[in-house]
Symmetry: C2
Subunit: 204 residues, 2 copies
Amino acid sequence: MNDKTDTRQQILEAAMNRIVHYGYGKTTMSEIAGDCGMSAGNIYRFFASKIDIAEAMARKFNLELYQTYAEIAREDRPAPERLRRVFEYGLTHSYDAIEKDAKILEVAEVLQEERPLFFNEGLAQERIYLNQILEDGVAAGTFAPITDTTFISEMIQSALMKFRFPQLYSLLTLAKLKRELNGVLDIIIAGLKHGVDITAENKR
Amino acid sequence: MNDKTDTRQQILEAAMNRIVHYGYGKTTMSEIAGDCGMSAGNIYRFFASKIDIAEAMARKFNLELYQTYAEIAREDRPAPERLRRVFEYGLTHSYDAIEKDAKILEVAEVLQEERPLFFNEGLAQERIYLNQILEDGVAAGTFAPITDTTFISEMIQSALMKFRFPQLYSLLTLAKLKRELNGVLDIIIAGLKHGVDITAENKR
DNA sequence: TGTCTGAATGATCAACGAATTCTTCAGCGC
DNA sequence: GCGCTGAAGAATTCGTTGATCATTCAGACA
């Protein structure tokens, strides 16, 4: 059993090494297999397809993200500050990763194309931490009461969509992005403090 | 003088007819010229290049948009309602256009690729109407005072980025999009009513 | 029996010449 | 001169062909 996960890890690591260096398209299954001293066919006992390796890569990346989100959500700071820190960390983490290895942008693109639902998973996970922060903020009296926390989290994610897709922001510097992110958050946080009247059709 | 603009209009119209039907890539300069009873070379006395025809198409589309924005901005309604109407109209107008002729999505893509700055023009134009509505709202006491109206307009545009690019939203139904748009606007409007504290670095 | 290989298969990609298309411009008719 | 054409040139796309690659699987090995 541990053998299996070990081999899987080994494949994943070999794949990541090649992919961050040469890109997803230029990395072949035979090369990955060669690095692991096995045949290409054997990889398929551990990953159903090449795109699944990319997905595993992204999952590993996200895991780091979620851990930090969890930490930030638990921090002893006002809710608005934690909200800012979550999104600023997410932006910085992705931006730095792309700056370091430009090839991972290709991974993101391939994944968006071939596993569109994968991103929803990440959004749902992120919402868990957002909900937590929002509820804390309401409990502390920093935010006005919220009827539907998940709905508000979704709307916050929607408003910050621009800072999530490297293809949308890759022209801007990180400093500019952060400033813009905080500008949008200024408005959102003001709204949360005051209390949001939800449009009739959106009430649940 | 009027001859010149007439011929230009004729070319533009012929081009639009073909492009909405067959797409930008599948429409050739000779075909457009043929429809106008002229040679391909002659088109270049009216348009510097093929992509300029696409830009002219988009400009015509935007002109309609701006006229309606201007009307909405002038309406005798509360500022929040006008804000909603501007963005809802923009979304609906684009959505309907694409639904009617799917080929215009290609025009948008080519334009985004080859004339990336063109979109900034549109954003700047839209901000004129947003600024107007925001200032009205402040004057009427509906919105709290705003230090930098243009900055707030920019942040609103940033938060509503998702509803601007068909490539981002083309999977969702118009009804869902409108609901989500109004959800984000719920938060933004709440923030504007309450008053937005601008993060230190963003103060001008 | 459980692992793994390596050949077979079909899909995708790259290369490259041919064809099409965009763009320019010398010159023609008015 | 003015407005336009049509041929020439440059750039791009297209279609074909050969190679590479992802994926499968029968069977070898242990």
